[in-house]
Symmetry: C2
Subunit: 189 residues, 2 copies
DNA sequence: TCAAACTTTCAGAAATTACTGAAAATTGGA
DNA sequence: TCCAATTTTCAGTAATTTCTGAAAGTTTGA
């Protein structure tokens, strides 16, 4: 690996972090490299920069594409494929959230939904099912909320985040308003 | 493994999911088992239920304790250690968020902070550094917001989540109120 | 202090995952 | 169509992670 020092430590860190994130070292490193690169890179540029094999690069790029974290483009007069990450960090963040939702949360929700519909065959099963239902409801609520948030435009989202915990006060305020006019702040179950 | 069918599929699912989550199969299975169990279990109960070795169970429990996802307790008149998960699913969720923050986000923030303070040695480094700064700011904002949310009481949190995207309208409303009184809804950078 | 009950450690085996190089497949232009 | 450039696949190897059983360690009560 032969990279300027800042880039190198960034790339290496993402390589290490990969394992906490369910992606392998090479995938993490390549993503980091593309993220900081001022221009799109082709597979050989990546091999040169990271120092892994050509085939490994190919696999890693395929995985990054499956995660929708890299864009593929062609440069005029060059047959090779060039890769880059989206410029907008918020867009990247949203993509990541969507993909993790799809890969990690959906399957669990499906399993839980199935389990909850079954007929418990004992007192123990009944308890287990009740616990699963609690988990299901929490995940579903958080998931829906995330989806709502994801779909906000970036300005609103930033405003909301900067507001932070103060949103509580706003909520309390609108609740009292709601009581006055006979309506409440949110939908009920 | 000899468990009632619902429990078994739940336990197996968590085992599989573990790998996406950076924990190993046994750890996932044991957590799932404890989560649905109506009473605390000791290490031998777990070995019996899951069908792994005693030592593996010991390691896995240690890891779950490091994640603060299981409670250790003693039953009167029994020397063995009994394990259970907290009852409150929201508390579990918060613990998980805190631990992941500490393990996955903090180290990245530290690395980014360091890189941003360095003097770039070329135009390419300057660009890389600017990208890292974008990432840093996004992560920091999201992190702070998460912390704010984590510290809300469950009722407020649930109300906020159920409100979902409608919070936008509330925000817009308070913003116009703010303009009238000469203040704005959130803190600025 | 000793013994029984229980837990942890650890070296090596087993399983899984990542990586490579060679070969096959695909693509675009002559 | 054919050739050269490029990408992908895949079988085998390397590296890493997980798991086990045996042994060592700890704790409690007699």
């Amino acid at each position: 690996m032969n990279l300027p020092p800042l880039t190198q430590s960034f790339v290496l860190h993402f390589g290490e972090m990969g394992s906490h994130w369910g992606i392998n070292r090479t995938v993490g490193q390549i993503y980091a490299l593309l993220y900081v690169s001022p221009k799109p890179l082709n597979a050989d540029d990546i091999v040169e920069a990271i120092g892994c094999s050509r085939s490994n690069t190919s696999m890693a790029l395929k995985e990054l594409q499956a995660w929708r974290l890299v864009k593929l483009q062609h440069l005029p007069g060059d047959r090779r494929e060039y890769f880059s990450t989206p410029d907008d960090v918020w867009a990247i963040f949203k993509t990541l959230a969507e993909e993790r939702q799809k890969r990690e949360v959906e399957p669990t929700l499906t399993m839980l939904r199935g389990a909850i519909l079954e007929r418990p065959s004992s007192e123990e099963e009944r308890h287990a099912q009740a616990r699963m239902k609690e988990m299901y409801q929490l995940i579903e609520l958080v998931t829906k909320w995330f989806a709502d948030i994801r779909d906000m435009d970036v300005e609103t989202l930033q405003r909301l985040m900067k507001l932070g915990a103060q949103v509580q006060k706003v909520l309390q305020f609108t609740q009292s308003l709601g009581r006055l006019t006979g309506r409440d702040g949110g939908k009920e179950e």
